[in-house]
Symmetry: C2
Subunit: 293 residues, 2 copies
């Protein structure tokens, strides 16, 4: 399907994409670049990439598909660096967890070549980072959200849908703004809360004792708190307004539960817990949503 992947950012997400394309027989050659030369070197040693490029621009030379897999705040500089080699035949994608800022960065950086860029957010991840954890199966069975703009070329959008589908993903399209609103609620806020809980415990004198007693509930609740700090620093800042709005709604829901606890209102508390428990018990990851009438 593709001759050459230009991979910029050989971490968990980028490296896994390269391995998945290779495993599916969708690419002949992967040319990779990472900001840290030791990462690029390691990616080559691990067989994640075939050739090390000395710059982002040279990773793009000769590529018909390009993946930018860097923290979202680095997207604009990266796209500017490769702009001169982006062609209308090339498919360029990112994998960032925010999309409105990425789309704006792409418009500024790519200008007339922005039609080649298809903003993408695969709904997957790991609590570990780095090319050592790259995994050809990371994307398999996951949703991928594409947020094309009015300038995205139809041919590129279709190619993007085909490549993610070929990797076993279910592809959905929506506007960058709708994307960021939804993921503030279901991803960025949970990360913020998990980071906060761990820091709240760490700040206490008995932190070591508390942590030694924690069980599987804590393990799963805080798994995402081990996520890459630079990646999440960027995500939380890029989607600030939606995130803070969701955090406010969360704090209202928390206050309602706390009030029921403080006033010993067992029935009100049970009703609220039942609502949450039933909602969560019936939720299935990746289930099609009900169509509005």
């Amino acid at each position: 399907m593709f001759e050459q992947l230009g991979l910029i950012g050989c971490g968990l997400m980028g490296g896994s994409f390269a391995l998945a394309l290779k495993q599916a027989g969708l690419v002949n050659r992967v040319v990779g670049y990472s900001k840290s030369p030791s990462t690029t070197d390691r990616a080559r040693q691990l067989g994640v990439i075939d050739v090390e490029a000395p710059s982002a621009l040279l990773a793009v030379a000769g590529a018909d598909i390009v993946l930018v897999a860097v923290p979202v705040s680095a997207t604009e500089a990266t796209l500017k660096a490769i702009k001169h080699l982006v062609t209308p035949q090339m498919l360029v994608m990112d994998v960032g967890s925010t999309k409105a800022d990425v789309v704006q960065a792409a418009r500024r950086a790519l200008r007339d070549q922005v039609g080649s860029f298809v903003p993408a957010h695969p709904i997957t991840g790991r609590e570990v980072s780095g090319v050592e954890h790259a995994d050809a199966e990371l994307y398999s069975g996951r949703q991928v959200i594409l947020t094309p703009t009015e300038r995205t070329l139809t041919a590129q959008l279709q190619k993007a849908e085909e490549v993610w589908t070929a990797l076993g993903c279910r592809v959905t399209s929506m506007s960058p703004e709708s994307h960021d609103e939804a993921f503030a609620a279901v991803s960025h806020l949970p990360h913020l809360l998990a980071f906060s809980l761990v820091n709240s415990i760490t700040g206490q004198a008995q932190a070591d004792t508390f942590l030694s007693l924690a069980g599987p509930g804590f393990r799963d609740f805080t798994r995402i708190a081990a996520s890459d700090p630079k990646v999440w620093r960027d995500v939380l800042l890029a989607n600030r307004d939606e995130l803070l709005a969701q955090s406010k709604l969360f704090q209202q829901a928390l206050s309602q539960l706390e009030n029921a606890i403080r006033t010993d209102d067992a029935q009100a508390l049970e009703d609220m817990l039942t609502l949450a428990s039933e909602t969560r018990a019936h939720w299935r990851m990746g289930a099609q949503r009900k169509k509005s009438p």
Copy 2:
């Protein structure tokens, strides 16, 4: 090791204990009682118990080991109901997630027989409840916290340690107060936050859309929000003071992160995320804690 288990409460925790004892060859017969006759009936059909008892008291008749596996607010009434058949040779335990309230309930209910009671909290659970999910492996490899009091008989405490150890658990003892303080931080608060997050999303007009997009981070973060509402209503109320104190510390940690986001202070944000990420990445469930000098 034991002749007869008297099981009061044939749900996930109780049913799993019965299956685990049987699988380990530690008991010859299980006599069970649940408040709902259909649950008791189902437990017998599934082979979790051998004999249905028509009352809690009759489940205890002839038992040398008794497990009370009911929501913590029902502990006192349950222990009162069985008091007349509790003997100094019998080992009576609970599996509640709070311990100070359970110890007080046991003192009031059992009076002179309180020495037979060993308060226990196995650090395990599932997001599903009911005897249908009972699993002989639920306790395997988990920690169990015992919170004996000065009146607990040494022989019973030793038997309790032996039976949990035989089920593959690591047994730790501490005071009921230390237990409740630690579990407010690492278990009760995470449950409260997970319930709050789900309700916060459910309360929004786009809840269905948001939930249809949620991925593995949301899945793990909210797993415990599907927990049994009656069990958690009791836990959150029973450990109210410690829980609200931990929630306050959490909200302070959350505010610090929000402030860094609001003021676009990328360095402060990254530092706080790094602290959380490194703490969580190094945490291992059930690891021995460092000894204080």
